[in-house]
Each structure stands twice: as structure tokens, then as C-alpha cells.
Symmetry: C2
């Protein structure tokens, strides 16, 4: 924290960039807009009570014997032998309470930060205001961690980071050039977010898989009010 | 090259991101706006005939015995024992013909790509149009490699990448989300480039070192018409 007592805000455009930052005492906001973190928020807002994010498919199957529903994707497609995929609509079906989930990028990003950050929360356009309000109330340094695509930069996560940075501008010190860049980029496309993202690589990839509805859903702003937080490897909603 | 015979254009926001791309047969445009690549362009436009970029300070001193002027910086400051620093004004003084140069980021970025890319050229706002025209005439895939700051993203190099991507839009297929993001960010700040970059981390760092004039100089668009290219480890201007 700096001399006039505002916490800092930083953005990592990819999980690898976390290696440049000391996460000690900081809140990490993990973001994977298409679709992992949007789906986590949507499910936990709609009746799911526990989501365990895991890196390996084998780990997910291990929880199946403990009455967890297995969910996830690899390369944007449902995993063979798993109960459900990574669509927010599946997770909102109100059939499931406990889900174990593994995805190409989002759950890996959680793994990257969970041992070093003081707290890990889940961000998406769906709960942008709720995340904003929570962070403003904590008075702690924040790092927004974009999941990206297999280690590379992606547009949708970085635009969300810009949106969140703008919301937090007056309460935090922006640190690093990523905040500057992402906020300018978000400002210039916010009225055409969906149109701009239709040109993005991941949108085109998922469109081929027939999940355009999922993506339109994930771009809704403030549809939900919950903030998922990682407690002992389980994501649950923060108390309101 | 894809089916309708346009070459591709990609951006790496940091040298590390090059690891995701096969550079074989591609032209790498190395960018370090504050100040290495701007200074190389300015020097070579003003009487310098050879610039050898090296990674280590010891390597630079080795060339001193071969009548090379030693130039460079570490952390934005002139290196003790070197003849000159990394200011474009020093390199334009028309006193020197042959310079060996080592910098914190720019010369490292050249090192990262020089063995894999088919050709390495030097980009900056100072020679934006010249670089654009050269690339349009080659009909080869292009990768813009931002030097960043010690492995991290920086605003000025990424904004230049956005500017160059926009110039090449009709002649190249944009590949990856970086092109999309950088071009939107550049479009939104291009009329206030200097004002926006005054908030950037590297600008503030260099401002403390008293080189604000250097940075204003480096943000001039199309001041020079030369395109430096790496031949056998030596940067020289491409023939006009």
C-alpha cells in the first residue's frame, strides 16, 4: 500500500505474468470470460453450492465418487465421460449442488495463484458490480489474472480487466501499463463489446462448437450479485 | 500464408510470447519505442552506418577494440565506462559511424528472434510509414515483437504495434487477439499519444532520469524514411 493509503491494482494479461508479481497479502481476481469463470458465477448464483476447480481430468473423476457432478471442457469441447460441459446453461439447470470442474484455461489460472494470493475470487461481466463493490470494501491490493488461451493473451479476459480497472479507478492506484492499456481498449469498444469480440480468436473457436448463445450470455453485465471465493479449494459464494 | 494469399500479421506483447510462434520464414519487427529501436532508427538515418546490438555489456566492450563506439543503458541510465548512452540525440550527433549497443530490453528482444526469423527489421514511430511500405512489398508473414520492460508488457511498444497493425490491415490477415486489442487501444489514444504515455511506467521512470526530450522525440511519426535490417549481426539501412 502506498503513502496516501490507497491499495494498488494490477493486471496480468496471462497467468505467466503472475511470476513478476508478489501475490502475498493480495486478492487475485481470476477471469476466464469464455466460459469458465462466467459459468462458475452463473451456477453459484442459481443453486450450485460448491464448485471445486481442478487442473487434471483424473482429479475431477476422483471427486465423482464423493457425489460431485463432473464438468468441464478441453479445447472448448465437453470431456468424454464427464456429466456436463462448460456451458453456463448447464450449470444453471438447478439440478446440481456440487460440481467439480476442469477447463483448458480458467481452472489452470486458479491453480497458478491459489497458494500465493491471500484470497482468490471469481470475476466475470455477469458479476462485475458485485466484484467491484467487494474489492472496494476490502482495502487490499488487487491483481486481476486473465486466464487467456493456453498461455497466450486473449481479448475477452483483458477487456473485462479493463472494465474492472475503470470501476476501481478512484479507489486504487493503477500499477503497471496493463491497466492503462486495457482501460483504453475497453472504453473504445464497450458499446460494441459483442461485435468486437466476434472477431476474437476464442469466439470464432467456440462458434464452430455451436455455443454462440453461451457467449452472448457471458457478455451480460451485472446479471448476478454473487462473488465466488476459494475456501480450502472449494468455490462458494461470499456471504451477502 | 492462407488461402486467399494474404500474409499473416501477429503481435507479441512481450519477447516471451515469441515462444508460442514459429518464426520460420517470417519477418520480425522489433520494437522498443523508449528508446532502443527509436535511437537505432534515428542514428542510422543521421550518419551512423553500422549498429551491432549485443546482450552483454562485456560483448559491447569487446567491439570497442574494433573501432566501435560503445552505447547503451541499464535501467534507463548510461552504462559506466561506455562512450554514449541510449539517447537518440547522442546517436544523431554525426560523430559516429559504427556503434555497438546494449540496452535493458531492445537488444535482448533482437537476440530472442534473430536465429529463428527469416529477417529482423527495426520499427519505431519515427519510421512507421517506411516500415509499413517495406512490409507491404514483401508478401511475407510478419510478427511484431514488443521489447516490453524486463519481460513485462509495456504501453508504448504495444501502442506502436497497434499503429502498425492498422496500417497493414488491408494487406495482411490479423492473427491472434493482440492485433485486435492493440489496434483499438491505439485508435482511442492516437490523438493524445504523448499525454497517455506520460502516465506509463517507463515514461515516469525515464522522466526521473531527465530524458523527457528523448521521449517526445521518439513519439514523432514518420520523421525518418530508413528501415534498419539485421545482416550478420549488424544493423544497416535497407537500400532505398
Amino acid at each position: 500500500m502506498n503513502k496516501i493509503q490507497k491499495p494498488t491494482l494490477e493486471i496480468c494479461f496471462t497467468p505467466d505474468a503472475v511470476s513478476f508479481i508478489d501475490l502475498t497479502g493480495k486478492i487475485a481476481v481470476v477471469v476466464d470470460i469464455f466460459r469458465a469463470t462466467s459459468t462458475m458465477v452463473a451456477g453459484l448464483a442459481s443453486g450450485v453450492t460448491h464448485v471445486i476447480p481442478v487442473v487434471d481430468m483424473a482429479d475431477a473423476l476422483h471427486y465423482k465418487s464423493q457425489d460431485y457432478v463432473t464438468a468441464g471442457e478441453r479445447n472448448g469441447e465437453k470431456i468424454e465421460g464427464f456429466d456436463i460441459g462448460n456451458s453456463p446453461f448447464e450449470h444453471m439447470a438447478q439440478e446440481f449442488k456440487k460440481i467439480v470442474m476442469t477447463t483448458t484455461n480458467g481452472t489452470q489460472a486458479i491453480e497458478t495463484v491459489k497458494n500465493d494470493a491471500e484470497q482468490v475470487i471469481i470475476g466475470s461481466f455477469l458479476n462485475l458490480r458485485a466484484v467491484t463493490n467487494y474489492l472496494k470494501a476490502q482495502n487490499k491490493d488487487v491483481v486481476i489474472v486473465c486466464a487467456g488461451w493456453k498461455g497466450r493473451f486473449n481479448a475477452e479476459d483483458s477487456l473485462f480487466a479493463g472494465a474492472l480497472a475503470l470501476k476501481l479507478r478512484s479507489d486504487f492506484w493503477w500499477k503497471g501499463d496493463e491497466t492503462l492499456f486495457a482501460s483504453h481498449s475497453y472504453s473504445s469498444v464497450k458499446n460494441n463489446l459483442s461485435k468486437m469480440l466476434k472477431q476474437s480468436s476464442h469466439y470464432k473457436r467456440l462458434e464452430k462448437n455451436g455455443v454462440s448463445d453461451d457467449m452472448e450470455f457471458c457478455l451480460q453485465i451485472d446479471k448476478f450479485k454473487n462473488v465466488p471465493v476459494l475456501n480450502e479449494n472449494i468455490l462458494e459464494n461470499l456471504p451477502k
